[in-house]
Amino acid sequence: MSKVLNKRNGIIAVLILSLLFPLAFSDNKYVLYIMTLAFIYIIAIYGMNILAGYTGQLSLAHAGFFAIGAYSVGVLTTKAGLNFWLALLLAVLITMGIGFALGIIALRTKEHFFAIYTLIAGYLIYLLIYKWEGLTGGVRGLIGIPIPNAIGPIKFESPIAMYYLVLLFLLLSIFVTVRIVYSLTGRTYNAIRNSEELAQTLGINTKINKLVSFVISVSFAGLAGGLYASLVRFIGPEIAGTTMVFTFLMYLIVGGIGTLAGPIIGTLLFIWLEQYLQSFQEHKMLIFGPILTLIVIFYPRGIVGAIQSLMGYFRTRKKESSKSYKTNSESTDMKSREV
């Protein structure tokens, strides 16, 4: 029970920190901007995590869907003159629709074929954006995307307001992820990740479940992309590119794929490291490359996975010394699974 309380306390502490963060940096717009941007990436990476981490299907079209969300908002606001909120809603729906269509085809392939297939699909999305100048502005991109429209008295002109808006969406994304992970649906995804064959013999329709997981995964990317468009206010085709998707993947793997805290930890770590290492921006892969390789080899579940196995190690040592065995339902609580 104390463990649950500790975890809960930890979550509350992080939440308070994230709420107070802007107050500490109220005069430093740049720091707020970077943090808001990081939160947007985290939303997208949570989506990637649902599919790759919890369902075991690595899609490399994720940046493509991020771009679809961003361009939907961009085009709908600048060209069709739509209200940002309506544009954002439509952006998520469009992303889900395209995700559905692409998912049906892509999910006919498995494992690395699926990864390669989605990599190609992501590249096609990039090309489409790049070439469709009339709609997307091609290589020049879209400029002048408006900030979110005011909701009553709440205006989004200040970086602080944008920060809180994005934070709200991030919390919503985390909430949805947590609900999914700890549900029967989440267990179903987990079973598919574990072994598709076994899942099928358990009566699970793996095709439909993977497709639903794919669509929910890209909806996060679409939402993040839409928010990105109105934060940065200028978008170019490179946000659909392979560099972008591998950046997402790197953040996720280092933080901990298939863990709940992984996307946050990986993204924040890298974003702030990059800020400090900005002087050697060009050489950053020289540093990150080897670190990434080592993590994949030794800690396949990233930083969070490493911390968990350490804690698990201490816990079993404590348990062994006290020789207490619990088999009651409290300790087998459905929620006592991984962080």
């Binding site: 029967l184 267990r187 079973a191 076994l198």
Partner: protein, 258 residues
């Protein structure tokens, strides 16, 4: 009505005939064993019944219903459960977490229920949990519920795999070499478990290499060799069948080997 009926069941992989024109019936409420040398087509035979492979020709009928072309997840829902020759458990999860999902096919909660945590979701989660505890208790592993699968013995893993199959609420369970890789004492324990499963009303069909175990356990035995059925009958009949002794036991006298 026959419980499970196979007619002319054939599976070819390219030029190789893994299962060759097998006619067979599996009786309800009995323990049926499939034996045969390595590569005889036993696992393939299971893969056909559970819907993993489409037969090249022939048909499979379950309780009067043709399931020859039924996909595996539907076969499972109809009440046919199976285990694999190598267990596919999720090592880093606890035993109970591995088993809860076995009840998933009897639940209806969707993604929507998960996100909104509807009444249905909560009720079905509870049902799945209770079902998992029940089957764990049934296979005698209630005390390992919280242990990570990676920390339990090979024999326990076999039992977890069986518990998982039982969690689906099957009418028949197909076990692919459940006693492989475990010691004689544990083998006896598994034989007991199979009897317990049959006594609880679930038909058992098992692939087995351990002759001693199977002769004392099975009601009915089918012998496969190079994909073809070369014999079927009670353990006594099989032990005295010259074709079996010739083909399967390499010509030695039955008394020495079996």
């Amino acid at each position: 009505m026959t419980f499970i009926k196979l007619e002319g069941l054939t599976k070819k992989f390219g030029g190789l005939t893994a299962v060759d024109e097998v006619d067979f019936e599996i009786e309800k409420g009995k323990i049926t064993a499939i034996i045969g040398p390595n590569g005889a087509g036993k696992s393939t035979f299971f893969n056909l019944i559970s819907g993993f492979h489409r037969p090249t020709s022939g048909s499979i009928t379950f309780e009067g219903k043709d399931i020859t072309k039924t996909p595996p997840h539907i076969v499972a829902r109809l009440g046919i459960a199976r285990t694999f020759q190598t267990t596919h458990l999720f090592d880093t999860s606890s035993v109970i977490d591995n088993i809860i999902v076995g009840y998933r096919l009897r639940t209806k909660s969707k993604l929507f229920d998960a996100i909104l945590r509807t009444k249905r979701e909560k009720r079905e989660e509870k049902e799945a949990f209770e079902r998992a505890i029940e089957v764990l208790d049934f296979v005698g592993l209630a005390n390992l519920a919280d242990s990570p699968v990676s920390t339990i013995s090979q024999e326990s893993k076999k039992r977890v795999a069986i518990a998982l199959a039982l969690a689906t609420g099957p009418k028949v369970i197909f076990l692919d070499e459940p006693a492989a890789g475990i010691n004689p004492g544990e083998t006896e324990g598994l034989a007991e478990l199979m009897k317990k499963i049959v006594d609880s009303g679930i038909t058992v069909c098992t692939i087995e290499h351990k002759m001693q175990m199977i002769m004392g356990l099975a009601d009915n035995i089918m012998v496969l060799n190079h994909g073809a059925k070369i014999a079927q009958g009670t353990p006594e009949e099989i032990q005295n069948n010259p074709t079996v002794i010739e083909a399967y036991l390499g010509g030695e006298s039955s008394a020495e080997v079996i």
